[in-house]
């Protein structure tokens, strides 16, 4: 193919979008709407995933030291914990601190503990442990329990198990939804393009009859599909950027739950924008070129 022919194809692709302006607008409308849908749910689900992550990162294991342990044995436990690669942080909390924590956590009811003095304190010294991968909490806790002079390992078994289960469900449902949505978008966009090209099948036939090769006909459609995809991505990306910027700026004033934090504006928004543009362009091209195919057999 000569360079001037390539130029001709690009010029023709643009011209065709203009000549079939009505259809082009309808197609861009379909691309725009579906991509807004995809963008919205992508943002939603990635942030839900993010929240789930941060909830899981709050999970900690409390390792209680046996009352009979000597100071060396206690420190040995600490060192043993530090040496485990999956453990991120280890913080020591003495039995006095533990009692304070219990009292304050019970609020007014906690006053009943006022009657204990230091000697009567029924609690143990403890290590507070956080993992690099919180999903491993259960097996790691079991492993820690085997360390000598560890009297008990607590991590709120029921709650943690529930949290992980729930988050994993949410993640899986989210993943299925977003994949289904992307496929829906692909189908809807290429379906729309297919219809518009179907309406132009006579023209494609005439071109073939005048001696055009398949590629000669395909190229302008390739350009048109690309244009369609790009123009159809403009509004979704603009909406995404401004919408997320607004959300990001205002989330603190409306948000009353400290566990809800959004993914930071940059680079998150740019990544999603890039993805949207890519989806638009690829489906546009693919939809156009595929749809032309069946009318080329003249």
């Amino acid at each position: 193919m000569k360079l001037r022919t390539l130029k001709r194809h690009f010029r023709e692709g643009f011209k065709n979008s203009w000549r079939n302006s009505w259809m082009t607008i309808a197609s861009i409308g379909a691309v725009t709407t579906t991509l807004i849908l995809v963008a919205t749910f992508l943002v939603l689900l990635l942030n839900i995933n993010h929240i789930a992550d941060s909830l899981e990162n709050d999970v900690e294991i409390k390792v209680l030291v046996d009352l009979t342990a000597t100071e060396e044995e206690r420190e040995a436990i600490g060192e043993e914990l530090e040496s485990m690669s999956i453990i991120e942080t280890v913080v020591f909390s003495s039995r006095e601190q533990e009692l304070e924590n219990l009292k304050s956590s019970l609020g007014e009811d906690g006053d009943v503990f006022g009657i204990f003095d230091d000697q009567e304190n029924p609690l143990d010294d403890a290590y507070i442990v956080k993992l690099t991968d919180p999903q491993q909490t259960v097996p790691v806790a079991e492993e820690i329990a085997t360390i000598p002079k560890v009297s008990e390992v607590n991590y709120g078994e029921d709650f943690v198990q529930d949290l992980f289960n729930f988050n994993n469900y949410a993640r899986n449902i989210g993943l299925v939804l977003i994949i289904a949505l992307v496929f829906t978008a692909i189908f809807l966009i290429s379906n729309t393009i297919k219809i518009t090209i179907f309406a132009r099948r006579k023209e494609i036939e005439i071109m073939k009859l005048v001696g055009a090769t398949n590629w000669f006909i395909r190229w302008p459609f390739f350009v048109e599909g690309l244009l369609l995809g790009i123009l159809g991505s403009v509004i979704p990306i603009a909406a995404l950027v401004t919408g997320y910027y607004y959300l990001d700026q205002n989330i603190e004033t409306v948000n009353q739950f400290d566990f809800i934090t959004l993914l930071p504006f940059s680079p998150f928004v740019w990544q999603v924008s890039g993805l949207i543009l890519l989806i638009g362009a690829v489906i546009g091209i693919w939809g156009s070129v595929m749809s032309v195919r069946k009318f080329l057999k003249v």
Binding site: N16, M207, L209, G211
Partner: protein, 228 residues
Amino acid sequence: MIKMQNVKKTYPNGVQALNGIDLQIDPGEFVYLVGQSGAGKSTFTKLIFREETATSGEIYVSGKDLTKMKRRDVPYLRREIGVVYQDFKLLPKMTIYENVAFALEVVEETPRNMRKRVMEVLDQVGLKNKARFIPDELSGGEQQRVAIARAIANYPKLLIADEPTGNLDPDTSWEIMKILEEINASGTTIIMATHSKEIVNTIKRRVIAIEDGLIVRDQHRGDYGYEA
């Protein structure tokens, strides 16, 4: 140029349009195709540039065996053949200029030569001043002339004209015939399906009469032959 042996064409709906055509057309000939409405004239021409494929029989066009031709070679066959379609087949969204230019773009003609040639053929058919119009803005006869301009633009070796004067007044028809004769004189083979007794009887050339899918007459310097 064209050789057919026992060519038959049955359309998917069961209509037998051609029932065994044997024929040879030499390079440079000018052939009229006459016959009643529905006799098979258009079907015959469509086989030559492979808009339709024969059900059986052999067809050779400028040495190529059409029955064995691969689909991807068909465009190159068509570039050697200019066709004036009975229903014009203009691209409705393109201007007259673009319609004619398309036949040259396909063969990757240079822009400069293209512009020159397009305006030249539009001038020949008397439509230079309507180059920027789209087909819907033209009268029936004007559209037909655009189809003629497109068919001759690429200096085809073979020109097939299906009823090229059906929508033209006598004056314009004679002008078109003059153009066809000139092209023929410069070596182009011409096959023209027509109902115009006047033209056939005035410009005497080879006449092939088709009736019910069969050649019933093949006469050099013949006349139209049907009497009202």
